[in-house]
Symmetry: C2
Subunit: 244 residues, 2 copies
């Protein structure tokens, strides 16, 4: 069973106050870059792995998806998702993505936001995602950037010139990283960009985009504290397409 | 004109003592990973951009390439390359890759080792490389890894726990980086992985490999000082294939 911090009440209480939970997609600074990678959902069968409160599921429906399935490991998250006005075309399923089985040749679009870096069994999930796509279908994901997940101490520190630096180490040493993010002992799986890309290619997905997301000049003007994100990217966005 | 440190005598005197120059390909720790990406050269027309002493040009001929062209900006390098027993099937050309024109639809294999991170005009060169490939042809390159080129001070430093860290900053700020490597004021162009990959995709090359090279356990046993390379990868290896 995957670790499920989202159902720890102390974690969840803090987590739901994040801008991306309060404001929805507009509170997620990388959303517009990620949205630009998603094909037009109109008429599609859409799957969201790690759907949380269902923001993207509802967005897909508002943009014409025919059926939408959201999957999440957290009861807390899914209760909130189901609290929005019901829509018979959206199905929410509680499942552990470490073992979830996805039906083959079913979806036009598979999406996953900031979820895959929690999973140990990612190679098997990526293979399943590829099989679950119809020919020409697309898979988009965001993960915490490997530069972000790599360090023993993942915090900016001052250098000898008084500038902040990101203390990179262990980039090529893949495996678990334990951080204290709202709760103690949150475990993420650190993987290199090379591993993410190779998993897609081995699953016969053609890489069609790789974005190391950072804030735009406009976003930094609005939220000056984001300037440091340019020193090391917080998110990695990938898109793979299944051959026709 | 591109900077040409290889024709500065003080630089060159030090540079030719590097293991990869003294021992050839076996002195380049990433060569076996890079070689694994190169299609069988037998019968191919082979182009090496930034050929240096011609080690890879001669390797391609020894492995059956029909014609080999090596291009380099440095007289020092090419004199040395031409000093090896001559081979009518290998042509060496002195040219600045910032402005070099490559004939279209000519090569089966285009190769470039540790050269492209010196070039300002990379988008145009990648487009030309793609056009110069025959259908099904392949482009392989190694560059200094963006994590390696990014920092203001590109040297390991101790952290507060006495461990060495790589002081990452400015990863998303692309542009020139000046280092003192055998000579003062060597200028490299820092680009993100995202930019390298996007340039290949925009040139209609299908990404077929992305390797963030680090030493193997065997290599670290032989050269223990390489263990720190696992903290931040020194090289990025890419392969793109032109659609049939």
């Amino acid at each position: 069973m995957a670790q499920n911090v989202y159902d720890q009440e102390n974690f969840f209480k803090e987590y739901i106050q994040l801008p991306r939970q309060v404001k929805g997609l507009d509170g997620a600074p990388e959303w517009s870059a990620l949205k630009a990678l998603i094909p037009d959902p109109k008429g599609s069968a859409f799957l969201d792995l790690g759907c949380g409160f269902g923001w993207v599921c509802r967005w897909a429906r508002e943009n014409g998806a025919t059926t939408v399935q959201g999957v999440d490991v957290s009861d807390n998250m899914l209760s909130k998702a189901r609290g929005f006005p019901p829509d018979a075309a959206i199905t929410y399923t509680r499942a552990d993505l470490e073992t979830f089985e996805i039906p083959p040749n079913t979806y036009d679009i598979v999406f996953s936001s900031l979820t895959l870096h929690y999973l140990k069994n990612l190679p098997s999930l990526i293979l399943q995602i590829s099989k679950s796509l119809k020919a020409g279908g697309a898979f988009m994901c965001s993960v915490e950037h490997p530069i972000f997940t790599s360090p023993r101490n993942a915090k900016f520190v001052p250098d000898s010139e008084g500038q902040t630096i990101w203390p990179l180490d262990g980039y090529l040493k893949e495996g678990p990283r334990t951080t204290n993010w709202f709760a103690d002992g949150v475990v993420k799986q650190h993987r290199t960009i090379s591993t993410y890309v190779t998993l897609l290619l081995q699953a016969r997905l053609q890489l069609s985009a790789l974005d190391e997301w950072g804030p735009t000049p406009e976003q930094i003007k609005e939220s000056p504290q984001w300037a440091d994100e340019l020193k090391r990217p917080p998110f990695l966005l990938l898109k793979g397409v299944k051959a026709m």
